[in-house]
């Protein structure tokens, strides 16, 4: 096999290059359970043979679960068979899972232990699903992955998978409306997996903590580890990140900013209260080998980056979206500019059109599943993805994000003001818990929810002083002219994002 074009090629390449090296490491019953790259390929083959025997034609198969060896074998087994994996958010209710199973035309559903209880209900709501498969554990009424793996052990599927074949449908939530199914081909995923020349990571370990139904985790943690010969250490629960960092002693991990902030505070608190050195605090929390955190998914304050630097840990920001498999920019070691969201990845063209970031690359999605109207709103006929994000880039290929296009304030004098650019200045200012900036007519207005936990003799005065300070750093058109204090939180979506439309 000379060329790497599909997820199947990637799984087979990893077997050939890294063979007995550890691909997945789990901690179960107080001991490590390792699976090699070779064993993993064989398990994927077994799942693929089962699919080939039980379905005709191209089939979509949904998965609801968190990261585990079983989940990864199931998802990649589906892709190795040339069929389509549909990862679904585990936090969803049974009704929402059923809705996404139906809208993606899935004909089978793999479920992990936490959703087994929902199987009957989902089965009633999804008449087209022929098989329910338990990813973890055996149940009388249900086929299990263990049964498939033992029954089809050692068999190799006969499949002809093409680069342009659909490989996965990932649902994006968005702040409004129904979730949309993003169609990614094998070519999309492979292009994104190989879009950045990583240093030699062979044999290194990464702790995978993000939800695997997000393409950020799926590509950057799972597919990139297959590509680079990295061991994926499975973080079995969000609450066990500190324990698992110590246990697995990884070299790197991917975080979202909220997790990064909590762990940083924990290290700062350890130094402050116990008087240990920064180096000791880093060792206590991150273990002996730790080098770098990759952050994505939301705005990372430069203050957090600076905070980690004190402990000798680099935190590198990236940028992407599900529609782009997901990386558009990637963080790198020794990134020169903490304000940027990283450097544009290889083979990716970026241009700025009326302030909006447009992207063209082999990673850009095929479209939204059965949703041509929304596809036309995001993709131009000549293949540019209109990201909806506002920003600019510099001559060295670093990209900077200033806000979302739909939130942009356009004043009658033609001045454009991005509310996020102003709001982000308050990201690490303790007296402000939440802030939303918008235009009330021509007046730039800030609604502020002061932190009720913050103890101060005059919190409003402190906030007003900070606003003056922030204002002085902006040209006059971007200055906050009116402040409204509120005593309740802003209305939020299920994923805790502020619903701006209800504020303004």
């Amino acid at each position: 096999m000379n060329e790497l074009k599909t997820v199947k090629d990637l799984v087979y390449r990893a077997d050939k290059l890294y063979g007995d090296g550890v691909f997945v490491r789990e901690y179960r019953n107080k001991s490590f359970c390792d699976t090699s790259f070779s064993e993993f390929r064989k398990m994927c083959d077994s799942v693929a043979v089962w699919i080939k025997e039980n379905f005709t034609g191209n089939v979509h198969i949904a998965l609801a679960g968190s990261t585990s060896l079983g989940y990864l074998v199931s998802a990649l087994g589906i892709q190795v068979s040339g069929n389509v994996a549909v990862p679904i958010d585990t936090a969803n209710s049974a009704e929402r899972i059923a809705d996404e199973v139906n809208r993606s035309d899935s004909e089978a559903l793999f479920l992990d232990g936490s959703h087994i209880g929902d199987a009957e209900k989902i089965s009633r709501l999804c008449p087209n699903v022929k098989y329910f498969v338990s990813i973890s554990g055996n149940y009388d009424s249900m086929l299990s992955l263990d049964q498939i793996l033992s029954q089809y052990s050692g068999l190799v599927p006969e499949t002809d998978v093409k680069e342009s074949d659909l490989s996965a449908i990932f649902f994006t939530s968005g702040t409004t409306g129904q979730s949309k199914g993003v169609m990614l081909s094998h070519g999309n995923l492979i292009d994104n997996t190989t879009c950045h020349k990583d240093p030699n990571y062979v044999g290194k370990k990464m702790l995978s903590v993000l939800p695997v139904h997000h393409v950020y985790c799926f590509t950057c943690d799972i597919l990139c580890s297959l590509w680079n010969g990295v061991t994926v250490c499975v973080n079995d629960s969000l609450m066990r990140i500190p324990r698992n960092l110590k246990l697995f002693q990884p070299e790197f991990t991917t975080f979202v900013p909220m997790i990064a902030s909590t762990i940083l505070s924990k290290m700062e608190m350890a130094v402050q209260k116990t008087g240990i050195s920064e180096e000791e605090a880093k060792k206590q929390i991150f273990g002996d080998n730790f080098e770098i955190i990759f952050s994505g998914g939301a705005y990372l304050s430069p203050e957090v980056t600076k905070g980690y630097k004190k402990f000798g840990i680099e935190i590198s920001q990236g940028y992407g979206m599900t529609e782009c498999s997901p990386r558009i920019c990637t963080g790198e070691k020794n990134c020169k500019n903490a304000e940027s969201v990283g450097k544009i990845v290889d083979r990716c063209e970026v241009k700025i059109v009326d302030g909006e970031i447009w992207v063209k690359s082999k990673s850009v999605m095929q479209g939204y599943y059965k949703n041509p109207e929304e596809t036309a709103k995001s993709l131009t006929p000549d293949g540019w993805l209109m990201t909806g994000d506002l920003g600019h880039m510099d001559s060295e290929g670093y990209l900077y994000i200033t806000g979302r296009k739909k939130n942009l304030i356009i004043l009658s004098n033609g001045e454009n003001v991005s509310p996020e650019e102003i709001e982000n200045k308050f990201a690490v200012f303790a007296p402000v818990k939440e802030i939303v900036v918008y235009a009330d007519g021509e007046t730039i207005t800030a609604q502020v929810y002061p932190d009720p936990e913050y103890t101060s003799s005059d919190i409003k005065a402190e906030i007003n002083k900070k606003i003056e300070e922030v204002n002085s750093s902006f040209p006059s058109a971007k200055r906050i002219q009116k402040v409204i204090f509120r005593d309740t939180e802003f209305p939020k979506t299920a994923s805790r994002k502020i619903i701006r439309a209800e504020v303004i």
Binding site: M239, R240, I241, I259
Partner: protein
Amino acid sequence: MFEKIKEIICQYVEADPSEITPDSKFRDDLGFNSYDIMCMLGDAESEFDIEIGQEDALKCSTVGELADYFSKLTQD
């Protein structure tokens, strides 16, 4: 149990241990965010050598409720 939980709490938030009572609420009184709580539960698991059910533990809104929940687990 209560004293040990207090120690773990103080690894996450700026709180005066003498002011933490069984009625102290994690979010409203101690200023925990949702992820701080998760991390603290993980530390408690290691400290007491128990296996915590995330959903059950997150139902505990006060320090006292969590201490009772942990006590039950350690007895089992």
